[in-house]
Symmetry: C2
Subunit: 271 residues, 2 copies
């Protein structure tokens, strides 16, 4: 059982920032990554739709014999985690809870900012976790939809990205937040810009770090960590997508210093 | 038969710029509009995926008893029009052919520029129509993916949109294009910016105008124009979407000066 891969999924390429942290922390694991490129992005879609899509993906990943699921997408974690946990019997880790925990542990003023997709912000899920940890915490959220397109266009260090960041971050001007959650997996790619615009006094939280740690803890607790070496010739990372893989390969290279030539297309609607 | 509605579809809201022209030219027609919000955008997706999605939508629209189809999406017109015409027996009008015809009739230098989604540009479809009209024409294409997000965020008259436009339009700097096709239904929303950046000597082609004219001609030819008045109390425009309608209603208001409170959600995957 412990030799089985960890399933990781996202609406597209963003979850690769989470996969990167998982590989860094758990290098001895096998991974199956699914990117739902045919229906991306999720961040503008409704809860019912994101939940339906997420369940199809979990069913596909189960067919790949996984031992645990990492929902490497803030929108899917915000909207579909309960539904996944309710329907499937395996360890499930989302990115929202670990991110909220770190933010709650970090803030001194008790005022936290959150940037993410429209769907994540309006879901209210970060608030409810944060309130659970510390009822005195207040959260200000700001949807930043253009960040996703800018990152996917490779506008990483770019005056346009800086200008858009200034507009978005101005939402926090009259607050005294000292902690800002990057509640979308694309955003760590422009962390330097966000940090510069938000100011050095603001601590940026990247939920991917904490998600990798939570995954390690959960696997340890369930005695599911892989202890055997992975044979050198074996492909430890497998990539699947719901659309033709060429765009995935291309955009993925912005995110991950890994060759993913072997990405395969599957018909996700059949699951 | 002629009293039946015209089916119009797009990956989301962009096709509303085409619907607007249709209504202007054919005010006495009924319309059923479908926006595939659950799977939008199409412009980054593969031909096979866009074709599968388009066929499902045509099957849905046929269930609404339409007399003709307007594919109000450049990407779907570029990638799926042949497949739709091959499979379904009703008049089908795409936006690419009328746009190409106008451009071919307009250019004096024989050099035409094309801006659109990645999928439309790489499809090569505009080239092949243009070559059919005038073999001496040369086309330079440039994918402008950020325009779609900027328009949907309401950045219509905006320095960021101008800056991005300058980058994209610089692709035509060393050409002597005198005609530029706005090969994506979102782009007419920022026509003023594109015109300013491209220069007054460049004639902008909005395929929506010509598509409405082609639709009129085709319906006339097939004796399908509606000649009876539409009763005042009747809803002549019906809107359907594949996701929860609230975002569609909200973004649609950027595009269309029409109230579309009645938009209904349907399960497009079942068609």
């Amino acid at each position: 059982m412990s030799r089985r891969p960890i399933g990781v999924f996202d609406s597209g390429v963003g979850g690769l920032t989470v996969l990167k942290e998982l590989i860094r922390r758990l290098p001895n694991e096998r991974y199956v990554y699914f990117g739902d490129m045919a229906r991306a992005p999720y961040g503008t879609k409704s809860k019912a739709t994101v939940t339906r899509y997420s369940k199809q993906i979990v069913r596909f990943l189960l067919s790949r014999n996984i031992k645990a699921i990492v929902v490497a997408c803030n929108t899917a974690s915000a909207m579909a985690l309960d539904a996944i946990e309710g329907e499937f019997d395996l360890p499930v880790i989302g990115v929202v809870k670990p991110g909220a925990k770190t933010a709650a542990d970090t803030t001194k003023t008790g005022h936290i900012g959150l940037i993410g997709t429209e769907a994540t912000i309006t879901s209210g899920i970060y608030e409810s976790y944060l309130q659970g940890y510390r009822p005195d915490i207040s959260l200000v959220g700001k949807a930043c939809p253009l960040f996703v397109s800018l990152v996917e266009e490779g506008c990483i260090e770019d005056p346009v990205t800086t200008e858009i960041a200034k507009r978005y971050i101005s939402a926090f001007r009259d607050t005294d937040i000292d902690t800002l959650i990057m509640g979308c997996t694309h955003f760590p790619m422009i962390e330097d810009t966000i940090q510069r615009v938000a100011g050095e006094h603001v601590h940026l939280v990247n939920p991917a770090y904490e998600t990798a740690r939570s995954t390690q803890e959960l696997l340890q607790e369930k005695d599911l960590l892989n202890t055997e070496d992975i044979p050198v010739h074996e492909e430890a990372y497998k990539f699947y997508v719901s659309d033709a893989p060429d765009r995935f390969r291309r955009v993925a290279n912005i995110f991950l210093p890994l060759s993913i030539n072997g990405a395969k297309q599957i018909s996700i609607e059949e699951y």
